[in-house]
């Protein structure tokens, strides 16, 4: 089974990385570095692909993050649920696809399938990696925004299908959720779909994370910083 490296020595050193087919919920408060942490974790290493479903940032901003982190942008795909509402005529490319709003779960599902299909068929980008199934990292940024547009029950059903497909294609996925904005029922329902949880907290100006449910990882809080897509654990 393929193992996805996290780039964090404390995780990779213990378990080798994250097993293929893992779905991880990242719970974080506002104003934390959770988004940078999530993007750093799904940054593709050579031979891999990454797809971001962005409900908060435009595709160009997402691609910029990965560019500054030193990634080859030819292996980054973005499903952008923001830009089309202000620029309806924006056209899809193989790596940048647009849906009219986070309400449009039909469109999001189709674009996700299309992007996965193009990766598997080798039409996503030139320069094939040669691995099969192609390793794909996926990030939903964020479930919080999707929950503003669709009811929990509907989103649960949607995520149920998405996580199952993610597992089937042997990818790894991170789903961001603001744990300050939603009640315990919401959090526990979404957790049911996941294999592991990364919690992020802010204390003063410092960010901490802890991991539960991922084999070999410690459950204690670790102080971290993210710089140019690189996560550093601060002793």
């Amino acid at each position: 089974m393929y193992i996805y490296k996290t780039g964090i020595a404390q995780i990779d050193g213990v378990s080798g990385g994250i097993e293929a087919g893992t779905n991880i919920l990242m719970l974080a408060p506002s104003m934390s570095s959770a988004e940078q942490l999530a993007y750093a974790l799904i940054k593709p290493v050579p031979g891999e692909y990454s797809i971001v479903l962005s409900t908060n940032e435009r595709a160009a901003e997402v691609v910029d993050f990965f560019k500054f982190a030193g990634c080859d942008k030819r292996f980054i795909g973005v499903i952008d649920a923001i830009t089309k509402s202000s620029t309806p005529s924006i056209a899809d490319t193989p790596r940048l696809m647009f849906v009219s709003s986070p309400t449009d779960l039909t469109g999001i599902g189709i674009k996700f399938s299309n992007m996965i299909e193009s990766i598997f068929e080798g039409t996503f980008t030139e320069g094939e990696t040669g691995l099969f199934p192609p390793p794909i990292r996926f990030c939903v940024n964020s479930i919080s925004t999707l929950l503003m547009y669709r009811k929990l029950e509907v989103l649960y059903q949607f995520l149920h299908i998405l996580t199952a497909k993610q597992k089937k294609i042997e990818g790894v996925a991170i789903y961001l959720l603001n744990n300050e904005s939603f009640d315990d029922r919401t959090l526990s329902l979404i957790k049911q779909l996941m294999n592991g949880v990364i919690e992020v907290k802010v204390d003063g100006n410092d960010n901490y994370f802890r991991v539960t449910g991922i084999k070999g990882t410690k459950a204690d809080w670790q102080k971290f910083t993210v710089n140019k897509g690189q996560v550093t654990i601060v002793p």
């Binding site: 709003s101 779960l105 949607f158």
Partner: protein, 387 residues
């Protein structure tokens, strides 16, 4: 009748959708089937039907752009009787209405007003957001708000997370007239899209599924494999060649100087809005080992016989038995009808022990029009076959 905008499907439905019907395009999440609804919208506008399009999931501009992208041409709305309720309208209703009942009343009032102003004949609704806001029955009742002597046809697309259970409710509780379920065979990714005519109220019809592909902005029903079989020298290769727009045969020349198929014939044609692929099998018994492989996943079969050679029918009967084991639609093409001394239909039926329902056509495989009659019958058979 209102056309679905997909000729192959109209044929399966007996010409289209009767006016005043309630139609559901049920979409499995992730399946690229939005063109079903879009095709029907384009067709309705092309026929100058007065339409109301309800888009609670998107803005009008984004919808028009997406539709043009999918279809390859702009939706012509200038000068047409058409009205829209889009995501912005939904947000306005949500902001202004204090309760769900108030929102429901506001929706009802808007739909009724637009229908009256435009004398709406067809309502197109993207239903899953309405379903989420109001539930199944109340949500659908909103679309029926239009009060007139001639109730409009209602056509909805619904993102179906609940599977067949919800389809039964559309059919049972809401008396839908046509339910089309659009799904994919999902391996590692969706690699095989198909639609199923789950229910039609106006014609007795078996539930049936047909694969489709999207080509040049159109839904094209796809018959991925029709197998053409028969005894040696019955005219299978000629049949495939006459039927096909593109054809390839793997033959060798026999001692008699005639060519005989030693692997297969392969032909492709686009016809009556279907894409069809034909596989011709070799006729000699020594190639029988190939036949189960070639029959695998076939949707129908043609047995070509030489109507002037009664001695070849034992071989044909053996091949029919192989097909019967797989329960697939079958038609018989009695070839060389242009020559004298041919058998009668009764003789052929008796020799081959054919069922009454298996059609027999007397043809010359050299004549394109004869071959097309056989294929037409088989396509009808495939799309109406109870598997």
């Amino acid at each position: 009748m209102i056309s679905t905008g997909m000729a192959g499907i109209d044929d399966m439905l007996g010409g289209g959708i009767p006016r005043g019907s309630k139609v559901l395009y049920s979409m499995e999440p992730g399946v690229n089937g939005q063109l079903f609804m879009i095709s029907t919208i384009y067709e309705a506008l092309a026929k100058d039907l007065s339409c109301l399009i309800i888009l609670p999931h998107t803005t009008l501009d984004a919808f028009l752009h997406d539709a043009a992208n999918m279809r390859g041409s702009k939706l012509q709305i200038a000068g047409k009787k058409i009205a829209f309720i889009d995501m912005i309208d939904r947000e306005r209703i949500q902001r202004s209405a204090q309760t769900r009942d108030a929102a429901e009343n506001e929706w009802r009032a808007r739909i009724n007003k637009l229908c009256k102003e435009n004398q709406t004949e067809v309502i197109f609704g993207y239903f899953d957001v309405i379903y989420e806001d109001f539930g199944l029955e109340r949500g659908f009742n909103l679309l029926e708000s239009c009060r007139s002597d001639h109730p409009p046809t209602i056509i909805i697309e619904h993102l179906n997370f609940e599977g067949d259970h919800i389809l039964e409710q559309f059919i049972g509780k809401l008396s839908f007239d046509l339910v089309v379920s659009i799904k994919a065979s999902f391996g590692l990714f969706p690699h095989f899209n198909f639609f199923t005519l789950v229910h039609t109220s106006w014609a007795p019809m078996q539930k049936r599924s047909v694969p489709f592909i999207i080509s040049k902005g159109r839904i094209v029903p796809y018959i991925p494999k029709i197998v053409v079989m028969g005894p040696p020298e019955s005219g299978k290769s000629t049949f495939v060649a006459s039927a096909s727009e593109r054809v390839c045969s793997i033959d060798r020349t026999g001692l008699s100087g005639d060519t005989t198929t030693v692997a297969m014939d392969f032909g492709w044609l686009h016809w009556k809005d279907f894409d069809i692929t034909l596989y011709g099998t070799p006729g000699q018994p020594r190639f029988d080992i190939l036949i189960p492989i070639l029959l695998k996943n076939a949707m129908g079969a043609v047995i070509v016989i030489d109507a002037t050679k009664p001695g070849s029918l034992a071989r044909a009967k053996h091949l029919i038995n192989l097909i019967s084991e797989r329960r697939m639609p079958l038609v018989i093409a009695a070839n060389k009808n242009d020559l004298s001394g041919g058998m009668s239909e009764g003789e052929i039926r008796t020799s081959l022990a054919l069922r009454k329902s298996t059609p027999v056509f007397f043809i010359s495989a050299k004549r394109n029009e004869d071959v097309r009659v056989v294929l037409e019958s088989l396509v009808d058979f495939i799309t109406q076959f109870s598997y």
